[in-house]
Each structure stands twice: as structure tokens, then as C-alpha cells.
């Protein structure tokens, strides 16, 4: 199995509080990998390990090894190179205080693309993928922060796609998006997995069931079970997993 991301005995603590406990996990390339689990079970921390966003919090300590595309993330001297290849969408949408166009063109510009035509195409493409183009195509100059919550979340998604990442990490990407648009974006994600590895953290168990090829279930900082989605949802090995996917707790 071709592994895009490999977690090798990874533990994370935030100032003494354990967020992840000895996680060993292989995330295969060109698939959608779902991560489910109750609140405070370490789902988001897994994503933060992938692009070393963990560095942002001064108290976080990680031990173990995370390998992305064959390279240990700790070995990146210039962490920008790593983050450029990982698209990240967090649940709280953050529209940068720039125009909608510049929001999406931000990462390509920083990566050195300055040709206007190329940027135009890229911005339109990304906004279409995030199902936002039709709503904003006639006002690309307005501020990204003026959009509604759901629109900002889609803008964040478009931004994450704008640097053509190898790995796309989605943390509750649909939390503020209406169900109809969510379904459309889910279709786009299914297309996108031809080109990139998608890690999908979600509280909507059914969303993981619909989209993910493989699913991992986390509870209380520990990896309880990981396997093919059908198996996790129909015949899980662990009682806890079964109770969670059936909606009996969590």
C-alpha cells in the first residue's frame, strides 16, 4: 500500500495534558481518509502534526515520527516547503482581510506565481471547486471578511486548494455550510482524490461513511480502530467503535 502519511508511535502533549497517545497509523495516498471520534479525542491534533501547525502553540510537545511523502516532518528546515504541499481547512473560517481574489491568490503569489492570466484561471478554478464561484464571481474585489460564515468557510477551502497541495486536510469543513452545498463539495472531493490525499476529520459520522475509503476512530487520545470504512461501519472489531457509529455515545 502506497502510504502518503505515516504516523509512527506519535504522542502529543499540550503543557502536560495528553492530546495523542502512541498513535501508529498509515494514511494511504490518493484516497479519502476519515477520522471520527467524540469531542476532545485528538482528531484535530492529528492534522496539526501533518503540517507542523503544532509549532504554533508554545506548550505542545510531540514525540514519535510523522512521515509525509517519505520525509520526516521534523526534518524540514524550511517548514514553508512542507506547508505549501498541505492544504488545511479549520472549522472556524478565517477570511483574510484582503479581497476575495487576493484571498485565493495569496498562496500562489507567495509561491512565486505573478502572471495575471494564470492567477485568474487558478482563482476561478479554486472558487468553482469550493462551490463559491457563482456567488462571488461578480464581486471578487470585495473583502473576504465581509462574506457570510458559510461563504468564508468555502473561501478557506478555495484557499487551501489554491496552492495545489498533495495532501488536503479538512477539519469539520462543512460545519457552517448548508447541506445542499455540502453535498456538491463532497462530490468535488470525490473527484479530487484522484489527484491528492484527503484527510477528513468530521463529527458527522455519516459524512465519513459517505466519503471515506478508510476510517479511523479515535477516543480519549487513543486510536481505537482503523480500517476500511465498510468494515468500521458494519462490522467493527471494537465495541466502542460500534457504539459510536451507531450513535449510542459521543
Amino acid at each position: 500500500m502506497d502510504c502518503a502519511i505515516q504516523f509512527d508511535n506519535v504522542s502529543v502533549t499540550f503543557g502536560g495534558k495528553t492530546a495523542l497517545r502512541e498513535i501508529t497509523l498509515a494514511i494511504p495516498a490518493r484516497q479519502i481518509f476519515g477520522i471520527i471520534g467524540p469531542a476532545n479525542s485528538g482528531k484535530t491534533t492529528i492534522l496539526k502534526c501533518i503540517n507542523r501547525t503544532l509549532d504554533f502553540s508554545a506548550t505542545a510537545r510531540m514525540c514519535g515520527k510523522v512521515v509525509v511523502a517519505g520525509r520526516d516532518v521534523a526534518s524540514f528546515r524550511n517548514v514553508c516547503d512542507l506547508r505549501r504541499n498541505v492544504g488545511m481547512v479549520f472549522p472556524l473560517p478565517v477570511g483574510l482581510p484582503l479581497s476575495i481574489y487576493e484571498n485565493v491568490a495569496y498562496a500562489p503569489r507567495r509561491a512565486g506565481i505573478h502572471d495575471r492570466g494564470e492567477l485568474d484561471d487558478l482563482v476561478e478554478h479554486c472558487l468553482r471547486q469550493a462551490m463559491l464561484w457563482d456567488e462571488v464571481c461578480d464581486r471578487l474585489g470585495t473583502l473576504g471578511t465581509r462574506l457570510s460564515g458559510g461563504q468564508q468557510q468555502r473561501l478557506t477551502l478555495a484557499r487551501a486548494l489554491s496552492h495545489r497541495p498533495e495532501i488536503l486536510c479538512l477539519d469539520e469543513f462543512s460545519i457552517a455550510i448548508d447541506p445542499v452545498t455540502t453535498m456538491k463539495i463532497e462530490d468535488v472531493l470525490l473527484e479530487l482524490k484522484e489527484k491528492m490525499t484527503i484527510v477528513l476529520v468530521t463529527n458527522l459520522v455519516q459524512q465519513a461513511c459517505r466519503l471515506a475509503d478508510r476510517t479511523a476512530f479515535l477516543s480519549d487520545s487513543c486510536l481505537i480502530e482503523e480500517g476500511k470504512t465498510e468494515k468500521i461501519f458494519t462490522n467493527p472489531a471494537n465495541k466502542l467503535t460500534q457504539r459510536y457509529v451507531n450513535g449510542e455515545f459521543g
Binding site: 483574510l96 482581510p97 507567495r110 489554491s162
Partner: protein, 429 residues
């Protein structure tokens, strides 16, 4: 249950009384409390008035001994609440939760009476108050009063600020009025400073402020950016922070002595414009650093993290996002230091300012009178000299100098406020 509780209770009378909207008093007498409560229902239509907008009175039941009419007491022994115009079954008779409808109220009152919870002695009254939905309870009314008091106190304190400001300005202006003219500003002082204008010190102040700003602003702003954006929280950063805070608290005369030691003597600048500017720069530096840091810290962390997530480096994030959104605060901090530098006397006293220097009166030289190595006059110093060191100066000259100095400071401050308003109006989140 309704048996007399003591020997005299059989003689007690219960008077139901209230006054209607048109002012007529209604009063009827009952032999028991329960009967008095029921009496309310007999008078229901009269109780509720003609229209829903009529204010309903409190209904009172007073307990009396026959032949002795007790005066109505101000404070009733029991107060119950009812929303008389409502109907249904609810509420507990308290202020927060009035009974729904007179019928419910009477039913509940009779129940309370049977449970022995309404004990009226002679001369005491029970009151039933009508209470509409959404009317303020006593807690809410008190809350409103406290709110009024608080805002009033704060407003008075804010107004107190204006009084000395207006007093100083108006006094100075009145005193200086005869002396003020364009010539006053454009002429150099002459006749041992008892006549002429203030051009030489004004030009000196301009030069001092400009040069000190050219030194302090880049250093201060860049240091502020480093401290807020790059520095991690460790002992080294904490020492720098401590130094900045302490430097801001150093008295200006100590800065002056430091300037003498460091710039005039050690660096060999001599007493000069440059040495005085450097001293002013050191004095303004900590505040520029602090205000820069505050302006930067006002940009939400989420923006930076979003940029970093996109693969932008720290410098790219600062250049494209953090600085454009904090520039108004940074500039405000810098400009406010201009007015501070213009007003300070002590730091330049030993480092480069002189009481008097003879300057060319005409030509380009008159507009740029000082070189970096020259000693110079300064407005603040000039004001000090005129007021204490020179005999025979007209008050107009003294007050005129003060007005120009304070006007300069006010103009710079208003510029900073205008800039802030202008840049804030483009606030993007």
C-alpha cells in the same frame, strides 16, 4: 379549618377596598378572609375596568375590629401579584411570577388562607397588585437606576478632563493675543531676546524632532516587529521587555545626563544638534516600541496562522498582512512621540540647546539655520529662558512662545488622530 384562631378573631372584620380608575373608592365588608377574597370575584367586572389600557389599582384587604377603623397602614403585611387580565392557571403570586387571572389568584389565596399562611391581625392589610407581563420587577428597576448612575459618573470624569485643557488654552490665547502675528513666527529674537519673534527656536525644534524621529522610528518600529512577531517567549525576550518598560520610566533629566556621557563626550559629538537629537531618540524609543507592539498584537492571531498554513513565511505574512493592518496604530504611536520630543526641555538642556544663537536673517540660510554639528535653540528651552533668565520681556512674548509650542503639539496630535480615523475607516475585519 376556618375556626377562630383566638377568642377575638370571631369579631374581626375584613374590608375589601380599592379605588377605581375614575377615583371612586369601593369598600365592602366581610366576616372571613376567604369571603373577602371571593368578594374580588363578585366585583370582577368593576375590578378589571372598562378598557384594557386602564391602570388597575392594588386591591387591599384590611383586617379591623368592629367600631375601630384602623388607619390604612403604608406597609401591607402581605403582597401578592396577579396578572388580572390574563387567564389560565399559572404563576406563584410572586413579583416575578404573578398568578394568571383573578380567578386563579382568589383560588390560590383561599388555599393559602386554609393552610394558615395568611395571618392578618387587626390593623394589618394584605395587598394584591396587578402586574402586566413584561413590566419591570424591582430588581430590574434598581438595575436601571444603577446603570444611570454609572454612566453619569463616567461622563462627569470624562468632562473633568476637558476643563483644565480648555482653561489652559483659553488663558494662554488671551494673554498671547497682542503678540501673535506671522512676523512673530518668522523673525529671529533680537535686542537680548526682549523683542522680535521665535523663528530661531522654532526651526531648532523642527530640526531636533525630525532628526530624533529619523533615528528612533526605524529602530523602534523594527524592534517592535521583532519582539512581537519573531521573538519566542524566553528569558532573553523577557529581559528585552523589562529593559523597554524601564527605559520608558526613566526621568528625562536622567536621559539628559546619559546623553551627555554617551553622545556628547564618549561619541565625541560635542554639544550639538545631533547629540541632542540622539538623546531625544533614546527617550522616545521605548514608547515607540511599545505602541508598535500593541498595534501588531491587535491583528488577530488567526490571520497569521491562516497565512502560515498556506506556506507563507513569517516575513511574507508580516509584509502582506500584519503591517498593512497595523500601520495606523504604529504611525499613531510614532507621531505622538513627535509631540513629546517637541515639548521636552531636559534632555536637550546639556546636550545641544543654547539660550541664544545669532543666525542669518535673510536668504536660504535663514530657513535652514542649523547644521548637524551646531548648537541650536529650541522652543521649550526658549520659553524657559524668556520666563526666568531674561529681564524686561513682555508677557506677550512669553505667552506667544507658549501658544506656538502648545499649538505645535496639538497640531501634531490632531494629525495623528486624523490619520488614525482615516486608516481605521478602512478597517477590514
Amino acid at each position: 379549618m376556618n375556626e377562630p384562631r383566638d377568642a377575638r378573631s370571631a369579631e374581626k372584620q375584613y374590608i375589601l377596598r380599592w379605588s377605581t380608575a375614575d377615583g371612586t373608592a369601593i369598600q365592602s365588608s366581610f366576616s372571613s378572609l376567604a369571603a373577602a377574597f371571593r368578594g374580588l370575584l363578585q366585583h370582577e367586572t368593576a375590578c378589571l375596568g372598562d378598557s384594557p389600557s386602564t391602570r388597575l389599582p392594588p386591591w387591599e384587604i384590611a383586617c379591623q375590629l368592629p367600631g375601630r377603623v384602623a388607619p390604612p397602614r403604608a406597609r401591607p403585611r402581605y403582597v401578592y401579584h396577579v396578572n388580572a387580565r390574563a387567564s389560565g392557571d399559572g404563576g406563584d403570586g410572586s413579583e416575578e411570577s404573578p398568578w394568571w387571572g383573578l380567578a386563579t389568584a382568589v383560588e390560590q389565596l383561599i388555599r393559602l388562607d386554609q393552610a394558615g399562611q395568611v395571618n392578618l391581625r387587626a390593623g394589618q392589610t394584605a395587598r394584591l397588585v396587578h402586574r402586566e407581563v413584561f413590566t419591570a420587577t424591582s430588581v430590574e428597576r434598581w438595575k436601571k437606576v444603577k446603570e444611570k448612575i454609572a454612566s453619569l459618573v463616567f461622563m462627569v470624569m470624562a468632562l473633568v478632563l476637558i476643563v483644565p485643557m480648555a482653561a489652559i488654552l483659553s488663558y494662554l490665547l488671551v494673554q498671547a493675543w497682542p503678540a501673535l502675528s506671522l512676523a512673530f513666527i518668522m523673525e529671529n529674537p533680537h535686542d537680548y531676546m526682549t523683542a522680535g519673534g521665535i523663528w530661531a527656536p522654532l526651526a531648532g525644534t523642527f530640526c531636533l524632532v525630525l532628526i530624533s524621529l529619523l533615528i528612533a522610528a526605524p529602530v523602534g518600529v523594527l524592534a517592535g516587529v521583532y519582539l512581537n512577531e519573531y521573538a519566542r517567549d524566553n528569558w532573553f525576550t523577557r529581559i528585552i521587555n523589562l529593559a523597554v518598560v524601564n527605559l520608558a520610566g526613566v526621568p528625562s533629566i536622567v536621559h539628559a545626563l546619559f546623553g551627555v556621557g554617551a553622545f556628547v563626550m564618549f561619541a565625541g559629538m560635542g554639544r550639538s544638534l545631533l547629540a541632542a537629537s540622539c538623546t531625544l531618540a533614546v527617550m522616545t524609543l521605548p514608547v515607540i516600541i511599545t505602541s508598535t507592539r500593541e498595534a501588531l498584537a491587535a491583528v488577530p492571531m488567526a490571520f497569521r496562522e491562516a497565512c502560515w498554513n498556506l506556506g507563507a513565511s513569517r516575513w511574507q505574512t508580516i509584509r502582506t498582512l500584519v503591517l498593512p493592518n497595523s500601520i495606523s496604530g504604529i504611525l499613531t504611536g510614532v507621531i505622538l512621540q513627535v509631540s513629546r520630543a517637541a515639548g521636552e526641555t531636559a534632555p536637550i538642556l546639556f546636550t545641544g540647546a543654547v539660550f541664544f544663537s545669532t543666525l542669518p536673517e535673510h536668504g536660504l540660510q535663514a530657513f535652514f539655520p542649523y547644521g548637524l554639528g551646531d548648537r541650536c535653540m529650541a522652543l521649550s528651552m526658549h520659553l524657559f529662558t524668556l520666563s526666568t533668565q531674561v529681564r524686561g520681556v513682555t508677557p506677550g512674548l512669553q505667552y506667544g512662545t507658549a501658544v506656538v509650542l502648545i499649538g505645535l503639539v496639538l497640531a501634531v496630535n490632531s494629525l495623528s488622530i486624523a490619520l488614525r480615523v482615516c486608516l481605521r475607516s478602512r478597517k477590514k475585519w
